[in-house]
């Protein structure tokens, strides 16, 4: 089976890190990601089934891994070698449980149920799958999600295995493009609901990549009525942000002034703003870089909240303002079960399905590549914004071996 696989290699990690500094996505050529012919993963146990990926998205966290920029934090909760790809729409060849054969979306978190752990941990019991405390235990190797675990395989290949609890049926009339957006949408929905925006708040969404745009859409659909100010660098992002529900879209360097005016805040500095006295009620950081976190802390009001939806790493940030202004800084990872403003409890993935359909999020998949062109695919994904793209995915539907038994 053809697969893109991450292998543990100190030398290649170092090379990827250096290459990525020269060009984003540069890690693809020299890094630990290689196109290999490997055996398809074996079924790890009861409830597991083989699926055939159709489309698999390339996500920001994947890019960070390829460029060897992700934190060493992940080392104990992934297992090498692994096949990446956690945003997957796949074919389920045979029915399993109540699920008929057909297209499925994988909910990749590898919680207690998938690991054969019984009784499940408290988080899993509550339905907060993303917070599972057993992601390095049980019947399969450590791995926070499919696509980071050596036992499950991942979407960037022609075959992988999934637990029946991870599978969500895709409606007949959906395109594969729409379906592949469900997983990232679920992340955005979770982030938005975790932020718990109050009515009339000003919410700044940093970043207008896929995650940022999905966050805007999720805010509009599931958040309380609020003012959304999006930050977008590129014209396509700008238009999409407006289309998905942002009230205003500003360029990154315009943000501070725009927030100042929108909040009627005063500012320190003689015309050039050194610091705002007030700021936005919420900042949702969908970038997760040092710069974006700094920016978030500088435009949020005292006692405001910064929610990090984009994956950060090790960053160097001055937290004096956080202390003095009593800012809440919180993370929002993955998904599970949400409490809507109405009090209703829903699975995040169900909400994501609803949102993808309502906001026609399938349009965010800009381009697909076969596995063989993975270097081009990774480069495209790493420079998506500047090239007018949002989501890049691997298209496995035409891979030859896919039909081989």
């Amino acid at each position: 089976m053809k697969a893109l696989r991450f292998e543990r290699s100190i030398g290649r990690f170092a090379a990827a890190n250096i290459a990525s500094r020269l060009a984003p996505g540069g890690g693809a050529k020299v890094g630990p990601l290689r196109l290999r012919d490997i055996d398809a993963p074996a079924l790890p146990g009861e409830g597991w089934v083989e699926v055939l990926p159709r489309l698999a998205g390339i996500c920001g966290s994947d890019l960070a891994t390829i460029d060897a920029r992700s934190s060493r934090y992940f080392e104990p909760i992934v297992s090498f070698p692994f096949v990446p790809g956690h945003e997957v729409v796949a074919d389920l060849p045979a029915p399993i449980g109540h699920l008929a054969a057909g297209r499925v979306v994988i909910e990749p978190v590898l919680g207690c149920v998938t690991r054969g752990i019984d009784p499940v941990c408290d988080a899993c019991a509550r339905g907060d799958l993303g917070n599972c405390e057993r992601i390095a235990f049980g019947s399969i190797e450590p791995g926070l999600q499919s696509g980071f675990c050596c036992d499950t395989g991942g979407g960037w290949s022609t075959r992988m295995v999934a637990h029946s609890s991870q599978l969500h049926a895709v409606p007949e009339d959906w395109t594969d493009e729409a379906a592949v957006m469900v997983e990232p949408t679920a992340c955005a929905v979770h982030g938005v609901l975790a932020a718990d925006v109050a009515e009339g708040d000003l919410v700044v969404v940093l970043g207008s990549g896929a995650l940022g745009l999905l966050t805007i859409a999720a805010l509009r659909r599931f958040g309380r009525p609020c003012t959304i100010m999006a930050v977008a660098k590129h014209p396509t992002q700008h238009q999409l942000a407006l289309a998905l529900g942002a009230d205003s879209v500003v360029l990154p360097h315009e943000l501070t002034r725009a927030v100042r005016r929108a909040t009627n805040s005063l500012a320190l500095g003689d015309g050039d703003i050194i610091r705002l006295t007030g700021g936005a009620d919420h900042v949702i950081d969908c970038v997760g870089s040092e710069a974006s976190l700094t920016e978030a802390l500088s435009v949020v009001r005292p006692r405001g909240r910064v929610t990090m939806v984009g994956m950060p790493g090790q960053v160097h940030v001055d937290l004096t303002g956080l202390w003095q202004r009593e800012i809440t800084l919180a993370g929002a990872y993955a998904y599970g079960t949400e409490t809507l403003p109405s009090g209703e409890r829903r699975r995040t993935f169900d909400l994501a399905f609803e949102l993808v359909a309502a906001a026609e999020l399938g349009r965010l998949v800009t381009a697909t590549y076969p596995l063989s062109q993975y270097e081009a695919a990774i480069t495209h994904a790493a420079t998506a914004g500047a090239r007018g793209a949002v989501r890049i995915a691997f298209d496995l539907r035409n891979e030859k071996e896919r039909d081989r038994a």
Binding site: V250, R261, G271
Partner: protein, 531 residues
């Protein structure tokens, strides 16, 4: 004997024509047979003895006014208001006209035993003047005598404790001006009338007014009904100010108006800059060398240096008249004297008007000509320098040349940055802008703070710049900027072109192939008298 302005018909032997282009120049060949160039008059003769002329004007007032000597009495409260940094352009060589006039006034006040004297820079919503700028305007002697005692101040249109509501005009316009001035026994206004728009009741009713009062005539409707605002009798802006003047007068505010005019000798008659006020076919070898040298040197310099060089230029323009007394009578005479220098008779309108925008406008002295000011300089000021009808026909095209950098002076123009980033990105329609955005900018606490304590233009000022353009925006079919920053030009809602040829090509889509072209050779300033 200085030669009057005139209109040149461009033929095949016409040399390339000078276009100002910010801190630089372009030499452009205009199409023969269908182009003409309007040249300003040469600088008219200045007064031989300006100080004597001032003293004479003060004791021989015009209109219904006593001589100043009779108006000054011991124990009286006297306020001397004077025009701010926006006049004249460029700033003049020392001594400034204001210094001459103020010293002459104070000499008389001292002789009359007047003790309570206050000097106020009548800057309306402009930025506060710095010490150096005030020293330049009123001279070191006056500055040192008054400023240390807090008797030389910048007007503050946002100081609730120092504004006085006077009344409303018959059209419901509120009149509110500087309290100290309003409560004085006499306001002496010291004016420099660079262009015909300045002066008259606009001095007091605008220069010393509050935002509450100004908004009644600084708005889109007024500007669209001022055709042009350079022609006082066809200007709604002036009618409103005159109505306010009447309210002031009726309420007992007494103004002794001193107005001065100056010639347009802005680049001197010798030195490298002098070539800029000569006619191209009369350029001597020295002129051609200095033009070539200047262009080459400027191209090599970084923008900062270029700006510094130009902003440091002090013009040798000289006073051509001074008249004092009752506001309206004085202003009639002043306007006539301004016209003597500026008016150039022009026959009929044209399809395409071209102009080279220089480095300076009233709002960027010692500062940066940001994109909004570029628009205002072209569409506000230069476009409106006409009497009768605009030199370009309705639906015609205006081509302006300016680098239009996306650059702002953060201290002077903080609200301009936000206007450009947050308002013009939404819409360039003055009516929508006024309705949707003006209030929030005008009442913004931070802008107010910067206006009152730093050197920032008032928060609402960029709106006025845009309103100033509204008559032109309504009249023109298209606006093209040659050689500008493409993004900035687009943000203004204009079309960018890299060369004049391209711009003319683009214009032909609007006005046809054989469109007539008129180039306004300004500065030195001229005013087209179009029949």
């Amino acid at each position: 004997m200085p030669r009057p302005g005139f209109v040149l018909d461009v033929d095949r032997s016409t040399p390339p024509i000078l276009f100002h282009h910010g801190e630089g120049f372009r030499l452009e060949r205009l199409p023969a047979g269908r182009s003409r160039v309007i040249y300003p008059a040469e600088p008219i003769e200045p007064l031989k003895n300006p100080d004597a002329a001032i003293r004479h004007a003060l004791v021989n007032p015009i209109g219904d006014s006593e001589p100043l000597t009779a108006l000054l009495k011991p124990g009286m409260k006297l306020t001397i208001a004077f025009d701010d940094i926006s006049l004249p352009l460029p700033p003049m060589k020392r001594p400034d006209i204001r210094q001459r006039v103020i010293e002459a006034v104070l000499e008389l006040a001292a002789a009359a035993g007047v003790d309570d004297v206050m000097l106020i820079a009548a800057l309306a919503l402009h930025r506060r003047m710095t010490e150096a700028e005030l020293r330049h305007a009123v001279g070191d002697r006056v500055y040192d005598a008054f400023a240390p005692h807090g008797l030389l101040l910048n007007h503050d249109a946002e100081d609730p404790d120092n504004l006085l509501f006077i009344g409303t005009t018959e059209k419901g316009e509120e009149v509110e001006i500087n309290k100290r001035a309003a409560e004085s026994d006499l306001i002496i206004y010291v004016n420099i009338n660079l262009v015909s728009m300045d002066g008259g009741w606009k001095s007091t009713a605008t220069g010393l007014a509050s935002y509450r009062s100004l908004r009644h005539h600084h708005n889109v409707r007024t500007m669209q009904h001022s055709r042009s605002f350079m022609d006082r009798h066809a200007s709604e802006l002036h009618s409103a100010n005159w109505r306010m003047g009447k309210v002031l007068k009726d309420s007992g505010v007494k103004v002794f108006q001193i107005e001065t005019t100056m010639n347009n000798n802005v680049f001197g008659t010798e030195g490298p800059m002098s070539v800029l006020q000569k006619r191209e076919w009369e350029w001597s070898l020295t002129d051609r060398i200095s033009m070539a040298g200047m262009k080459t040197a400027l191209d090599l310099m970084p923008q900062r240096t270029r700006r510094q060089i130009f902003q440091n230029w002090q013009a040798p323009h000289a006073m051509t008249s001074v008249q004092a007394g009752e506001v309206e009578a004085v202003h009639e005479l002043t306007t006539a004297n301004v016209y003597k220098q500026h008016l150039v008779p022009v026959e009929g309108q044209t399809d395409i008007m071209t102009m080279g925008l220089p480095y300076i406008s009233p709002y960027n002295v010692n500062s940066i000509l940001n994109p909004i000011l570029v628009a205002c300089l072209g569409l506000g000021y230069f476009f409106n320098l006409y009497r009768g009808k605009p030199p370009v026909r309705e639906g015609g095209v205006l081509i302006m040349s300016h680098p239009t950098p996306w650059e702002f002076h953060p201290v002077h123009h903080p609200s301009y940055i936000d206007f450009f980033e947050q308002v013009l990105s939404e819409t360039t329609d003055p009516i929508r802008i006024e309705a949707e955005f003006e209030k929030s900018f005008a009442e913004d606490e931070w802008y107010r703070h910067l206006y009152r304590t730093s050197h920032a233009y008032h928060g609402v000022h960029p709106f006025y710049m845009w309103y100033w353009c509204s008559h032109a925006l309504q009249h023109l079919g298209q606006v093209i900027i040659v050689g500008g920053d493409v993004r900035a030009v687009r943000r203004l809602g204009f079309k960018p072109a890299s060369t004049l040829q391209d711009a003319l090509e683009m214009a032909s889509d609007v006005v046809g192939r054989d469109a007539t072209i008129t180039h306004i050779h300004n500065p030195p300033i001229l005013m087209a008298d179009v029949h």
